[in-house]
Amino acid sequence: MTRTNSYSGVQLGGVIIEARDLVLSFGETPALRSASLSVQRGEILAVMGPSGSGKSTLLHCLAGILVPDSGEVSFDGQRLDTMREEQRSRLRRDRFGFVFQFGQLVPELTAEENVALPLLLGGTRREEALRGARVWFERFELDGLERHRAGEMSGGQAQRVALARGLVAHPDVLFADEPTGSLDSLTGELVMGLMTSAARDEGATVVLVTHEPRVAAYADREVIVRDGKVSAAVGALS
């Protein structure tokens, strides 16, 4: 099924991620209580909710980082919750990209090595991986920072490097958890603008966890997580 997002006009091509009745507890503390969610291929979905509502846990389940105690998660028709860790790990490396709030860059590596990391881990030769990485420096206005290390860059620059790393291997899905959480408003907006336009150019689906409405406004629609459940979406999809 293909449908068009009524607001952005983006063509959406069927369900890419489906989560049904996810339940997950950390010890005695329930984080997800029957959370269900569908993500359309090509859409940018904001997952909102107050602190402690379970939105990051939900993202980790959708990305195959955590396995739910019960319930099903499928990506592109494959069940993540029943997959062996080794397979999930390969899937995360080959098909997913990640951007988090803090501390993502490997401090010993240069910016371009950090960006190239997913390609190197996927078996691409070093020179080719670095060439692939350098393309993103111009695209994200980071020219000249290729050989800088994390400590030699501003927060906004480091976050753009992390974003480039999330997208360098052309993932089907980019998972972003509070990607602007540690940035000032203007820098956060720059990062969001780059993330959404690059994801659309690449045809990547984005699952964006945020508690900030101004960040969620870059998405095509939003869902709210409350007490470990996803409330009925009242978004922009027709």
Binding site: Y7, S8, P213, R214, Y218, A219, E222, V234, A236
Partner: protein
């Protein structure tokens, strides 16, 4: 709409409606009696309320008013419809939240509908900001920050609904 909503709780006299309006929504600006009776007369004329027979003592304030099905429907529709997503809508939203708690209606759902309306407007403004001129962006940002302030209030109110329900019921 606030008076019609208050009438949806139970049949009431004009002075009772004024007292409750002033208590919950007046905030130092009490409703003039004249306005209360003019509104009730209009509601009766439009078939949204029915005036009972005058009780001993006469005068307009001796009549007890009852909401009609038409009036109930109007309250229902009004509570469920989001207010156009413009900044500074606290007062209307505040009245909606308090009334829906008084009437035992799903205040949380109304807040969700309003949140969605706000976010839809914020998406439009964000798009304008990304694709328009710097002046457009400046104007869009002004709207975005105000809408965001409303949303914070919506979230805080949603988190306090249980306590608010207890207070309104007491």
């Amino acid at each position: 709409m606030a008076l019609l909503g208050l009438l949806d709780r139970e049949p009431s006299h004009g002075y009772e409606l004024k007292r409750d309006y002033d208590t919950y929504f007046g905030r130092g600006r009490p409703l003039p009696f004249g306005q209360v009776y003019a509104t009730l007369a209009r509601l009766a004329r439009d078939g949204k309320a029915i005036a009972g027979d005058a009780e001993p003592g006469a005068g307009p304030d001796r009549k007890r008013y009852t909401i009609t099905d038409t009036g109930k429907h109007e309250v229902e529709v009004w509570l469920g419809a989001p207010i156009p997503a413009e900044p500074y809508l606290h007062t209307d939203l505040f009245v909606k939240v308090v009334l829906s708690l008084m009437l035992g209606r799903p205040a949380e759902e109304y807040l969700d509908v309003q949140r969605a309306a706000h976010l839809r407007r914020m998406r439009e403004l964000t798009d304008l900001k990304q694709h328009g001129s710097l002046v457009d962006a400046l104007l869009a940002d002004h709207g975005l920050f105000h809408l965001e302030a409303d949303l914070r209030w919506i979230d805080l109110t949603a988190a306090r609904l249980a306590a608010l329900t207890r207070e309104v019921a007491s």
